[in-house]
């Protein structure tokens, strides 16, 4: 599509360069500047436009640049490449920098949440409306009753993408029915899972989309204000969001009389200090209220009594990003994608020992092997796949025998892990599974809020035991105690953090028990990761 340049003429070529955090961190901004300078210097400003767009997905190869309409993709550029790139416009592409746009990484994905990511300038409302942005909001407030919006959500079968997988339509319905003169909508953009950056990327690449979802939700449940709770470590996301809120307000998509109706909805941003537990909904609410961010027992659930004791709808960033397309295309359309009980697509942050690391979106039910070996390009350096960790600190490790499993909420749970927010860390034989469990336990221990005993003290004791095992100082009794603590902490902790903290231990014990035994009985780390004292030394200590 031709692009309007600053001087009002139609550009023939657009250079779309990724300006999401990943690419900016490898000089994407400098490359963009260099390209602009180069274009000016050659007097091409009327023919060639440079545009900053959201994440193009293959972040490991950044900065990424797409040349439209030629469909050429460039990777890993440095500012010095600008001249050569501009020179090549309309001619042969620069082979050296080319990134294969036809590789499975790109072609096997199905984009709903990320459909605008890399397609629109996240700072320009016009870009967003040009691709149908805010049509869904206009349709909802203009043509639909709130109850119709909710029933469309129910039909879609969308489940929360923040970790729990609770049916979104059901949650919306509960809040809509709750008694309360005031109601709130909260977007959970805390994203505390280590290694996860799905929500950040959506906010940086397509902030208007999240706001649109929130406004539709507000209309559906009867709320007139909302908050985005975002961690302060995401300054770029916050900046884009602020800008998006301002532009949407000015254009009448937020504020009073939205799309000419009597519906009113405002959105504010609240910054979190970056505590993992503040992603837990009751802790998050407490944090917005200005109190210490620690969870409280549920019920009452936020849907009945949340922010300032008012009924509150709280959904994840990705959940909200799914709303506009559902309203635009209908719930039926959405429920046609994915599997019986897991509908739609899921965004995953693919990381670890895999060729293509980055952000991907695939239909629910995509086979694990396809994700890791086809889209992910397999394990580098000729090594062997060992396990994939899903669901972050609340999840577990899935071994090779499950590679042909279709990824759904249910199948992951069956394999002893969870979908979580979508982190996927691939591991090869150089990873020690006991050490992996120890790492996640350490995370839970340091992130525990300290309110309840089993989590506060239990995670610390479990970490101690895992440390002992990885150092070759543990006995079988220690292993028994570890397993017992897993059970107590899991069933008696107050919130999800404590309740799920044993998961990485349980799943590694389930599939890699022999590694634990090797550490304990033979004082060896089969993967060669853990540094052990020599067995003779240990025996000397014990004696």
């Amino acid at each position: 599509m031709p692009e309007e340049t600053t001087n009002g003429t139609q550009a023939q070529t657009t250079l779309d360069i990724c300006v999401a955090a990943g690419c900016l961190s490898c000089q994407g901004d400098l490359v963009k500047e260099a390209l602009e300078k180069e274009i000016d210097a050659r007097g091409l400003a009327e023919r060639v436009a440079v545009r900053g767009v959201g994440c193009l997905g293959l972040c490991m190869a950044g900065p990424l640049l797409r040349v439209s309409p030629d469909g050429i993709l460039y990777q890993a550029m440095v500012p010095e490449d600008a001249g050569e790139i501009v020179e090549s416009i309309g001619k042969k592409p620069v082979k050296r920098l080319e990134c294969d746009a036809e590789q499975s990484f790109f072609t096997r994905q199905v984009k709903i949440v990320l459909e605008n990511s890399g397609e629109v300038d996240p700072d320009k409302l016009d870009d967003y409306t040009a691709v149908g942005g805010y049509d869904a909001l206009a349709k909802a407030v203009g043509e639909m009753e709130p109850s119709e919006v909710i029933s469309e959500m129910v039909t879609s079968g969308l489940r929360g993408r923040g970790g729990g997988g609770y049916p979104s339509g059901l949650k919306w319905g509960t809040v809509a029915k709750a008694d309360g003169a005031r109601k709130y909508v909260i977007c959970n953009a805390d994203e505390g899972d280590p290694g996860a950056f799905m929500d950040r990327s959506v906010l940086e690449s397509d902030p208007f989309r999240v706001l649109e979802g929130m406004a539709i939700a507000g209309y559906a449940v009867g709320a007139d204000s909302g908050y985005v709770y975002c961690r302060a470590e995401y300054p770029l996301a916050v900046k884009r969001l602020k800008n998006a809120i301002r532009q949407a307000e000015r254009a009448g998509f937020l504020g009073s009389n939205i799309c000419g109706s009597s519906f009113r909805f405002t959105v504010d941003i609240r910054l979190g200090a970056g505590a993992f537990v503040c992603g837990e909904e009751t802790a998050l609410i407490s944090s917005i209220e200005g109190n210490r961010g620690s969870p409280r027992p549920r019920p009452p659930f936020p849907a009945a009594s949340g922010l300032w004791d008012c009924p509150t709808l709280i959904n994840n960033v990705e959940t909200f990003a799914n709303v506009a397309p559902i309203i635009r295309n209908g719930g039926e359309w959405f429920s046609g994608i994915g599997t019986e009980k897991s509908k739609g697509t899921k965004v995953f942050a693919l990381a670890g020992r895999v060729q293509n690391t980055g952000l991907i979106e695939v239909p629910m039910g995509t086979v694990l092997r396809d994700i890791i070996f086809d889209i992910g390009g397999g394990i580098p350096d000729g090594r062997k796949f060992k396990a994939v960790q899903t669901g972050g600190p609340s999840g577990g490790c899935i071994p090779e025998q499950f590679l042909d499993m279709a990824v759904t909420y249910e199948s992951l749970a069956q394999a002893g892990s969870i979908m979580g927010s979508g982190g996927m860390i691939v591991m090869d034989e150089t990873s020690c599974m006991v050490d992996v469990a120890r790492y996640f336990m350490e995370f839970c221990m340091t992130e525990s809020c300290g309110k309840c005993v089993p989590c506060r003290v239990g995670t610390m004791q479990m970490h101690e035991l895992l440390e002992k095992i990885t150092q070759g100082r543990a006995s079988m009794k220690d292993l028994d105690l570890l397993e017992e603590l897993c059970e107590v902490v899991r069933f008696s902790s107050l919130c999800g953090l404590g309740q799920t903290s044993p998961n990485p231990v349980l799943s590694t014990l389930r599939y890699f028990r022999d590694e634990y035994l090797a550490h304990i009985r033979d004082h060896v780390c089969p993967a060669g990761v853990c540094k052990m004292k020599s067995p003779s030394k240990i025996h000397a200590e014990v004696a």
Binding site: A275, R292, R296, P297, P299, M445, T446, E447, S448, C449, G450, K451, C452, V453, P454, C455, R456, V457, G458, T459, M460, Q461, E464, L481, E484, L485, V488, F491, S492, S493, L494
Partner: protein
């Protein structure tokens, strides 16, 4: 409007309860004793110690009795093997966290943690002690805070805030490093908000808060006044 009365079963017995009761309230009325530590009549409940957890038929999760409301037809079990085992482990975890040496503690013989251990039959420790190095704050003219005995039940925090209205206490830090503090983590003796009313000391279940000049065994906590004060304050019930 009088609250509705509902029926439920607790340990197989039929009991009736007001619909705004917690499981703990209903159990108390029916003379069923559920172990508690962070709960104290007269203060709001936080569900932090997890000792009061019960099984409810049809719900796979365990629920804390102190914050879970009763409902019609609910079937509650308060003392299964499993619950006892979890409670014993939780008490062991409490002992392991800080330095509890009862023989030299002012609360020896009058301590709820100690009593709980005896009641549940915790006679040895399977989890290792942590032995942290923790300070004692004796800067207040009448009271002492000994972090070594604190179990972070936050009763002091709630009593000071909800009953005395001073809000001298708070919790700072995360996880195993969490601790109670006075004002902005200043010595208690320097506190400008503390009225020296002694409520926190009297609601503390352990020897973490005590009065100066009392010998071991003398440090008996008087906490029965709390419900009374709450009633006076709210002027109802």
């Amino acid at each position: 409007m009088p609250a509705k009365v509902i029926t439920l079963t607790i340990d197989g017995r039929d009991v009736s309860a007001r619909e705004d009761y917690t499981i703990l309230d209903a159990a108390k009325e029916a003379n069923v004793k559920i172990p508690t530590l962070c709960h104290l009549e007269g203060l709001c409940d936080v569900g932090a110690c997890r000792l009061c957890m019960v099984e409810v038929k049809g719900i796979p999760k365990l629920l804390p009795a102190c914050v879970t409301k009763v409902s019609e037809g609910m079937s509650v079990t308060t003392d299964s093997e499993r619950l006892l085992h979890y409670r014993m482990t939780i008490v062991e975890l409490m002992f392991s966290e800080r330095n509890h040496i009862c023989s030299v503690c002012v609360s020896n013989g009058h301590c709820e943690l100690q009593a709980m251990a005896m009641r549940l039959g915790v006679d040895h420790m399977r989890v290792p002690y942590r032995y942290p190095t923790l300070p004692v704050d004796a800067s207040h003219e009448r009271f002492v805070l000994d972090h070594n005995r604190c179990i972070l039940c936050t009763r002091c925090v709630r009593a000071c805030d909800e009953i005395e209205g001073a809000h001298t206490w708070d919790v700072m830090g995360r996880g195993i490093d969490a601790k109670v503090i006075t004002d902005m983590n200043e010595p208690w003796g320097k506190s400008e908000s503390c009225t020296s009313c002694g409520k926190c000391v009297n609601v503390c279940p352990t020897g973490a808060l005590f009065e100066k000049g009392r010998s071991v065994g003398e440090m008996v906590k008087r906490k029965a006044f709390l419900p009374y004060l709450t009633q006076m304050r709210e002027g109802k019930k």
